[in-house]
Symmetry: C2
Subunit: 287 residues, 2 copies
Amino acid sequence: MDIVADPRDMQERAQQWRAQGLSIAFVPTMGYFHQGHLSLMEYGRKVGDKVVVSLFVNPAQFGPAEDLDRYPRDLERDAALARQVGVDVLFTPTAEQMYPPDYQTYVEVGDAAKGLCGVSRPGHFRGVATVVCKLFNIVMPHTAIFGEKDYQQLVVIRRMAADLNLPVKVVGRPIVREEDGLAMSSRNTYLSPEERRAALCLQRALTAARRLVSARKSSREEILAVVQQVISQTPHTRIDYLALVDPETLAEVPAVRGEARLALAVWVGNTRLIDNALLVESKPCCV
Amino acid sequence: MDIVADPRDMQERAQQWRAQGLSIAFVPTMGYFHQGHLSLMEYGRKVGDKVVVSLFVNPAQFGPAEDLDRYPRDLERDAALARQVGVDVLFTPTAEQMYPPDYQTYVEVGDAAKGLCGVSRPGHFRGVATVVCKLFNIVMPHTAIFGEKDYQQLVVIRRMAADLNLPVKVVGRPIVREEDGLAMSSRNTYLSPEERRAALCLQRALTAARRLVSARKSSREEILAVVQQVISQTPHTRIDYLALVDPETLAEVPAVRGEARLALAVWVGNTRLIDNALLVESKPCCV
């Protein structure tokens, strides 16, 4: 595995691979790899002749009061893990290379970026869309692979790729969870042991919602009431948002008709966690 | 020459050409070709194995009170002219194909898009940057060729291509003028015979400025005073802006030191015309 820091070097490699008819799979990350990241890389290994993983803690997607400075980093461990999975290039640009002093271009996605995390993290998805657009142009992937934990991010990037006619297939892959159900996240390292236990309420809430829908109680009110109840019973938590949305547009829906996505963001102590689940309308089984 | 309307069809052709190792030269236009457009296509014919010309009157770059509806169009004549120059593909998407109903992504360039035409045409360069980003992704050119008449547009697109790491070389080519000096523009067709004569004041003003700089009078005040004088003496004219700017950043400069760009926008009757010239500091010739 090569570690490449220079965007031009990376882009030249990508161009050479494309000229050789090789397909490129790409996993953009902020590093501090867990099994969720590794599952995306493994998927990339299956679909691409070459697998590129970018490791870039993107300043443009952090708000001024957010955790840019303390975001966990461990390049040596990350490189070892990526090598084990069979990644071809770990792309590690610096912030100065990605945003030189006269930098001034931003990509903005509209409606899909407005609700959910877009409310409590203004500018976040502008930073995400911009850096992913840049990364796509540098790495020139045929397939780009994202985890479904950051579900709104996945939708925003799909929207951007379609709108800007980017020749990239954007693939979302299932959330990977710890044994006890907590969605894997680099930010889980912020949690104290007590908060770590409290954090299980996110998955419990999603499970309760799924059970409700199986029992054909599928209105937004019923679902969000149960979710709210589960979380508010848990110490150290504060709800940022709960939302039942259309899986493609992220517009709020009044009930689970066909499919809907239940998304939530919850503060556990000083750490903001997100999680989500697909809810599928339960049909009478034997008519 | 093929006429291709479908963006996917165009993108597939581009991908096939790239896989065959062919280089692509691209000239984005709004059609109604004059010798200025044709000179860009001829240049493309020299530098590219394949030459693509897009013809798209882009709604996103017109303000609500602007001339989108009456912008001149003549596809048949344009196709004949492009064919004569040896263009390979004339790409003619519809507004519905470029901006489907759920479209929501825009590319915005900062400082370079703020002054000059950015003041009197708010949103114009957002529309330009967005459509050119889309067109670059569809046509996948190695070289993209723009006329220097729309000088700010050229700078904005250069900035966008660099910032978003687009693998495209952006080339600016000299303004092509009518025999009497008027910069060629599809909008010249709007002019009455009387206005057509008045429109010569733009070129006269630029020439007067150049003469001034040759005589080592190179301060912003001196230059703009002469330009203003030439134009205000001409009937049917109203100045939108006059500016002496850095050729790369478009920041205003106090004098011609090294090189500067003199840019102007003037209403002639109901038609807004732009023109510009490179001014080069005059050095003592024999020291």
